[in-house]
Symmetry: D3
Subunit: 230 residues, 6 copies
């Protein structure tokens, strides 16, 4: 693999990308057929953010944030920067200076399979980050990686231009070509849940709403009363 | 083991269960003789909740939340749902819909040795959850487990009807038959601590309050002044 | 190793120690030459605190907080208590009573390579703690350790009297003899960053500010336009 | 909980206990209905051993092996010593001296949810140990625990007198009262597997032996030929 | 994502695939430009095996090995079965029966991002497995996944037909289209290393062989003699 | 910290260093007063080696093995190379080429708080390594570190010239100045254990040999006979 920086990637239409931010990560993941999630070790460095954007991807060497500077130039309004490393790393590869630079370009957030620092400043700035660790450990700028190639970030394949959705539950990735269909499925799903939520709040049981009683019995579930010997 | 759902479990008297919520997890654990804690990986998904309730227990297959729906029907006001899995799992086996259903039945919270999702909604709803992970990963409803059998949850044995206490420090479990005695011991302990806290705040040393100086000397502790060569 | 408690340790001048609190952990770590950090598993038990102080050190047995009581007496205003264990431990070796005692002596915070409990009370009291875990697990007072000997805490060597800086990014340790020089370097570094932050906020790229383009090209980075086959 | 040492526990008949050693852990676990396993972090400190025995249980304080000495006296020929701790611990709480003592009493092996040391000597002596860690870290003898009470060891509930089976796959626990029935089920299962193994070795497919094709189709599995665009 | 089983995948020429087995994982990884490795938690369940083969891929639900049975039918001589899960899992999803079936089809080994059981039998049979865990935990056959779609296994992207190389150092994946070029690069690299190994064995220093002295000096390395004050 | 390579370090007398190899890590650790151990995650990459030697230390950047080449030149017969990293790292920073070079200089082994590769070759060569991981991940040679400064390796402070002892139980470090005294204590301890081992093998109980019965009773241990209700 030769180090490369790919320019002018394709993105999904802004209207579609933006609409994903109305759906949470769990819904999008279900709408995709229960796939596309990053591992749960990816956590927001501050709570409450909910974003959707187009992925600009970085494959970096662990402990080396040189390529993040290269990637900034490839970002535009509405993007989310996604950083993968060639080996597990918790170093603080991102902080308030890079965040300042990304905000100046309209980037909506960062997803990094490594550490992040300056977390208090990031919260004050309102720049959301999902990372595997919080660490003040500084990095070098010594070895090349690549920008906008397909990467595996926290267990998920991310192609440049894919839609990235992130909230307090974690991070999901939707392939660019599936974005429209997944969005539609997410909408249907959410509408469906509103109705269910009302019935459950009124005290109806999931057992009845989902018609589970017969299937449970067929599968062999037995009901028995408690006794002190049980 | 045949899958089973036990109905009509015994619970400790409500007055006793409710009184536990005035004591924190650390106090209850000490009052029990320094046992009965779940592992510290069990963390609240949002901070600040403090509950006590009667355990309704679930043994679920990892990644399968079918039995949670079965368990909801067995819950009543004042209960805490406790979910163990047959193998380690971080999937998001619980979210806002199940929480809506449990709240409709007066359940006080959930303790789950797996993942939880919709954490922001749960905080907005005021439904507290202690879990080993936060994950948007969806689950299936395919394989039976059991409800209200003894389970091992995060390293602690939980029998149905045991008192579960949870706060920002973690989760403790008090056997139903010991509840009254443990509650009394917790009260004594807390009263005792109030006095100590005052003395410590006034600058008295634990060394003196607990009469440690002689024991330390007997055990061989030597005091020496600092020198640059030390 | 005989158990020992060293009295009257040397500390850096108060003016220098206090000045460190104006610089964050990441800055101090960089100013030291990218060393001196504790591992990132050391996290604040409540967010927002930022302290600097002189280290009083403890080497404790895992699950035994006897020596913490010994150490309290050696603390004075402006100190930070640093607790290392002879083996990995997550037990709640510290809680609100010890915090009350430390606050009465003017101690600024605790750094403990073990667990901490009563976290909600600690936040209410405004006493900051950095720990590897939150756990209600109680401890014994049975076996001696030492106070104010050099310890390894979360991967960092801490000598008594070293300056400890802690914020939401983690914990750094600056040797007492280097404190003045590191502080000066931190100041220079921070001044330098203010200027950079402005340029980045105005849309200038790190690539240009740091003159990276030539070095990247020399290292072999190739730019290429995106194609669907790439 | 008052510290206690229970004497003269009940055990399953020797013929039944011994017969378990002809079945591996996976088989016994399946015969029990896919339960009763300790967590997979419990690993043999040397490979190749396969034992079954009656559990003598210990609840110890982390880093304190005092109660192991108490437990030795309660052991008899055919037993397996099972050690749980009140908090996670990797210290080397067991070594060649205790092994010598246990071998002198006819104990078949040790299962310890903590660390073990002298692993090379243990292999030379032929004394098998399953532990969560290998560590030379020494322990104290300072705080009481209990012997022959129910314990949770590596996530599994173990009552004194239960049958413990351990091999290179891990450790399983069969309640004493279920031992005979589980043994019978294990035998049936194994006989059944011999036949299947022959058919599979001859090239028959599991898809056909287990009649999966129809169920897979009904569940919605689609077969498609590979194309470069897939 | 609809569950699918892709038949008749393309593979690299047998001569090329087979030749990879003469090179170890580290060499292949370097020849690819230091990429293509699975995470180091993937370990052989028994030591000493070294294989190369064409990937048949499975995306399975955690704790559910149904799709492995589907995949067996798609395997042919010279293949390596690669199993990814939709969430982290350590259950024993593979054992001696499936190994018997795979051996009957000429499959060279298994790479599974989950647990494996019957490890002693597998060693006796000579069937090599790389897994993230050893666990006797049994699995269900209840939920569909897919066969021969691109999967992320232990952090590496694997497309069906890619070349998988595995030895005691871990597992590498070489894209099918790059196989010939990578093989050539591996050969060159290995030849180069033979010469270096001789020079190093003769006492020549890497500092001189790689001409590092000047670069080190330029980077600022200072040599100094030891003093007791250093 | 300026990068530096310290030459001509002091070592303990060869006769003393060599004598340590007759004592295992657990014994040395106990003889030092139960300190000086590296964390138990440090494991031999192949079993059965037992070495003692003088530490040559390296502080390296994670994923960068440049300084190992610098360190080789500082090694002499009887040394053990000890490598620490400035941040957690599992990359394969050491392999058969560096081992060849170290063997040519008479180095007895490597202790590295990072990954190691070529483990099969290392076993064939008889060069022992203790590491935190096995990984084929290659490294760069881009950023300076230091040689023969004090380092923290796997939680233990190592000064250049300290005695390093390693066996299947782990790694211990004895300060150079304490080497003679610790060696004497280890000898005494071992002699003492021989006698105990004989008595234990003859069936005497530790309870009696160590006179524990009275202390246990005083501490409150109660003996009770088993009943089915206990």
């Amino acid at each position: 693999m030769k180090p490369v920086c790919i320019r002018n990637i394709s993105r999904a239409p802004a209207a579609i990308v933006d609409a994903f931010a109305h759906h949470n990560v769990a819904t999008v993941h279900e709408a995709m057929g229960r796939i596309g999630l990053m591992k749960p070790y990816m956590r927001p460095v501050w709570p409450g953010a909910h974003i959707a954007g187009s992925a600009v991807t970085v494959l970096a060497q662990p402990g080396d944030n040189w390529m993040l500077h290269v990637a900034v130039e490839q970002c535009q309004t509405g993007d989310v920067l996604v950083v993968a490393c060639t080996a597990d790393c918790t170093d603080g590869m991102f902080g308030d200076l890079l965040a300042t630079s990304l905000m100046a370009r309209g980037v909506r957030g960062l997803v990094i399979d490594a550490g992040c620092r300056d977390v208090r400043d990031l919260q004050a700035m309102g720049f959301p980050v999902w990372s595997r660790a919080i660490s003040a450990k500084g990095t070098v700028k010594a070895t090349l990686g690549s920008v906008n190639i397909p990467v595996v970030c926290a267990g998920a394949l991310v192609n440049p231009g894919d839609v990235v959705i992130a909230d307090d539950d974690g991070v999901a990735v939707c392939p660019r070509s599936d974005a429209e269909a997944v969005l539609a499925a997410a909408r249907t799903r959410e509408a469906n849940e509103v109705a269910k939520r009302k019935r459950l709040a009124a005290g109806e049981l999931g057992l009845d709403i989902y018609n589970m009683r017969e299937t449970l019995a067929k599968a062999g579930l037995v009901y028995r009363d408690y006794s002190n010997k049980s």
